[in-house]
């Protein structure tokens, strides 16, 4: 088999020494904030926006935008890791912790998995255990300003400890379920769990 041609003096990307330890395997650090999407930016108005928690809960709940803004918000500073190999350190968000949202519902004990679904049709899935206890939040501000639409505004899910495809943009709701249901990328080759520190990019099921 012929050897791959290597381009003279092409280096690709390299990580700086100081931040090496913060980079999961196969990642490189960026300072900009790449925009990735599977479709056009949904143009949901504040009037039409709803966030719903439903499925295996005692009673589903829906917040309108003004109601959502009344919920206690916190600042979150986190590193984020995209499966396309870029990582961004110390991203600054303001939003509502999932734990705060879940105070308003009673989860059925059978609820072990969550599907997060978005305006525009995107979905992603994760175990309830990875969503709670401070591991995830719904962000409406980024870097001190309202979350730009191209980055998921009005509000998006942020789950920093997993690959960023799990941090669904344009969040519309969370559905609690008994069994796991693979989301948009998980159903086409991507790892069901997606832990960047274990390099869980692709599924071995395919």
């Amino acid at each position: 088999m012929s050897e791959q041609f290597v381009s003279r003096k092409f280096q690709g990307r390299r990580a700086s020494a100081e931040t090496q330890h913060r980079l999961p395997p196969g990642q490189h650090a960026v300072t900009d904030f790449p925009v990735l999407s599977a479709g056009l930016t949904p143009q949901v108005t504040q009037n039409d926006w709803r966030l719903t928690i439903e499925g295996l809960v005692q009673e589903p709940i829906t917040w309108r935008w003004e109601e959502f803004l009344q919920l206690p918000r916190q600042e979150f500073v986190v590193d984020i890791h995209c499966v396309t190999s870029w990582s961004k350190f110390d991203t600054r968000w303001r939003g509502v912790s999932i734990d705060t949202l879940l105070e308003q519902v009673t989860l059925d004990p059978r609820a072990r998995y969550v599907t997060a679904y978005s305006y525009g049709g995107y979905t992603t899935n994760l175990p309830v255990a990875e969503l709670i206890n401070g591991q995830a939040f719904v962000a409406c501000e980024y870097d001190g300003k309202p979350l730009p639409r191209e980055h998921g505004g009005l509000a998006r899910l942020v789950v920093p400890h997993l690959y960023f495809w799990k941090s669904a943009k344009w969040l519309r709701g969370l559905r609690f379920m008994e069994s796991d249901q693979r989301g948009f990328w998980e159903s086409l080759g991507y790892h069901n769990h997606g832990d960047p520190w274990k390099d869980e990019r692709y599924s071995s099921d395919y």
Binding site: F5, V6, S7, R8, F10, G12, R13
Partner: protein
């Protein structure tokens, strides 16, 4: 066409600076296959650690020129491949590519005209291949090129275009400058809009074949506007280049 496209190693024969940020690379292709105007090649770079970056670049040269191709490339500051091509490549260097690719955004004289070509920025490249092909075929199919650029310094192939439109009566080039027009300019100095498109279409005798290429935003506006004024969608072909360089 049934055709296997394999990666092959081309050699840089010559490099020409077209504008401050645009260069044309003449490449000798070992397994040269005659392309059609509008097609492109994929270019791939590989680092010693195996990391790869790949981009598509439209062929600027006419199919009639055998054994070699011209790729005209705009240098994007935040690009991965274009800075390498601009800053590192010298004649004699080798580069990996595959092609020619594309069967939708193509034109040749057998398809007839009239031809309306709408270019934004580096979107001129595949349309220039069409113009050069028309000239090489000594065709006099009525051809109108509407070329939108920011400033006069951004016009790629400026000399060649003015020479061609002088020589050929049925080939017009219409510029519109969106940021700064030349001194004493009496032509268009704004983004493409409905009035401009209506005027440009006006003196074309019959229903033209229309090709639009450039930044996505420009292509969307031009194509949607043409559809809005009743132009048959089947007569329009589009190629989107993504965000405009230099935001």
């Amino acid at each position: 066409m049934k055709q296997s496209i394999q990666w092959q190693i081309a050699e840089v024969k010559a490099i020409k600076q077209e504008t401050l940020t645009v260069k044309t690379f003449t490449l000798t292709i070992p397994v040269w296959v005659q392309h059609r105007a509008g097609q492109h090649y994929d270019v791939r770079l590989t680092a010693p650690d195996g990391y790869q970056a790949q981009r598509s670049y439209s062929i600027a040269s006419e199919p009639e020129r055998t054994g070699e191709i011209d790729l005209t490339v705009e240098r994007l500051d935040d690009g991965e491949v274009s800075p390498y091509l601009h800053d590192v490549l010298v004649p004699g260097d080798r580069i990996e590519l595959r092609g020619p690719l594309g069967g939708y955004f193509v034109w040749d004289t057998t398809l007839g005209g009239p031809l309306l070509l709408i270019a934004g920025g580096s979107g001129i490249v595949p349309l220039m291949a069409m113009v050069r092909h028309r000239v090489a075929q000594r065709s006099d199919i009525p051809t109108r090129l509407l070329y939108s650029v920011r400033t006069p310094e951004d016009v790629i192939y400026a000399k060649e275009l003015s020479g061609l439109s002088e020589q050929h009566t049925r080939l017009d080039v219409i510029y519109t400058f969106t940021r700064q027009a030349p001194p004493n300019w009496r032509g268009y100095a704004r983004r493409i809009d409905e009035m401009m498109l209506r005027e440009v279409l006006q003196s074309l005798e019959s229903k033209p074949r229309i090709y639009i290429c450039g930044p996505t935003a420009l292509v969307e506006v031009a194509a949607n506007t043409l559809a809005g004024i009743g132009i048959d969608a089947e007569s329009i072909r589009t190629e989107r280049f993504g965000p405009t360089g230099g935001r």
